[in-house]
């Protein structure tokens, strides 16, 4: 089970988010070298109240356990933030966190 660590803090109108996703981020070559199955996140989508606030398509050249920091406008304390990640094997993970 992949885990997600999400921290979101509202400051005025702006919400600062730190999100860490668990993945080996091993591309084809690296997986061969380590003799493991290739595994990396291909897409991360963050939503707030049904609106996409963060979106990235990634490859295996992001660092292991990718950490992202970003900000968005219009979030309030107590509201929920949701993340969905998809990896190259088609595995989908979701995570939720309340804004502090």
């Amino acid at each position: 089970m992949a885990k997600m660590k999400i921290k979101a803090k509202a400051k005025g109108d702006i919400v600062k988010v730190k999100a860490m996703f668990t993945s080996l981020m091993a591309d084809k070559e690296e997986a061969e070298k380590k003799k493991i199955k290739s595994e990396y996140i291909t897409q991360i989508v963050g939503t707030h109240n049904g609106n996409v606030v963060f979106e990235v398509t990634t490859s295996g050249f992001m660092a292991e356990n990718p950490l992202f920091k970003f900000q968005f406008k219009g979030g309030k304390k107590g509201e929920k933030l949701e993340f969905t990640t998809t990896d190259n094997n088609g595995k989908i993970e979701t995570g939720k966190k309340k804004i502090k």
Binding site: D27, T47, V52, T57, S59, M62, A63, F68, F72
Partner: protein
């Protein structure tokens, strides 16, 4: 009563139509630009991703990365800009394939992203950003990677 029912059905259908749109907003660049992810060199990948339009150098996009990275496995990068950008793509020449990440900036979004990438050797990292008016901006920086990952 029939008319009321009809209205209700219509509304429900409308809601069902509208609701998934927000979800579908997500663009999977792996599906739309499959060739860009296979390209080995930055120049090639940029062409596949954004076409052959001219790139404009700018200092309005702040791209912060260490000049010397001690650990090639985790290089922190920050991209910041006041411009109204739509797509931000990160390319590097150190790995077997060039394209590393593509950010889609939501409307009225704040462009301030921190993330970490892997690099096997010293190489140029290029950021190409597409503004909402279609202009392509570019920024690049060479990052020195200490081989083996031990700074010594």
């Amino acid at each position: 009563m029939d008319r009321r029912k009809f209205l209700g059905v219509g509304l429900a259908a409308f809601a069902a139509l509208v609701a998934p749109v927000a979800e579908l907003h997500a663009i999977d660049f792996r599906a739309t630009k499959p060739k860009a992810w296979q390209a080995e060199k930055s120049a090639e990948a940029i062409k596949e991703m954004f076409g052959t339009a001219g790139l404009k150098k700018t200092d309005k996009i702040k791209f912060t990365a260490p000049k010397l990275a001690e650990n090639g496995g985790s290089i922190p990068i920050n991209i910041k800009s006041e411009l109204d950008l739509e797509t931000i793509a990160v390319f590097q020449d150190a790995n077997p394939r060039s394209l590393t990440a593509v950010f889609t900036v939501p409307k009225n979004g704040i462009v301030n992203y921190d993330f970490r990438i892997k690099m096997r050797q010293t190489a140029f990292v290029t950021v190409v950003a597409k503004a909402r008016d279609g202009v392509l901006y570019t920024m690049s920086q060479e990052i020195d990677v200490s081989i083996g990952g031990c700074g010594g």
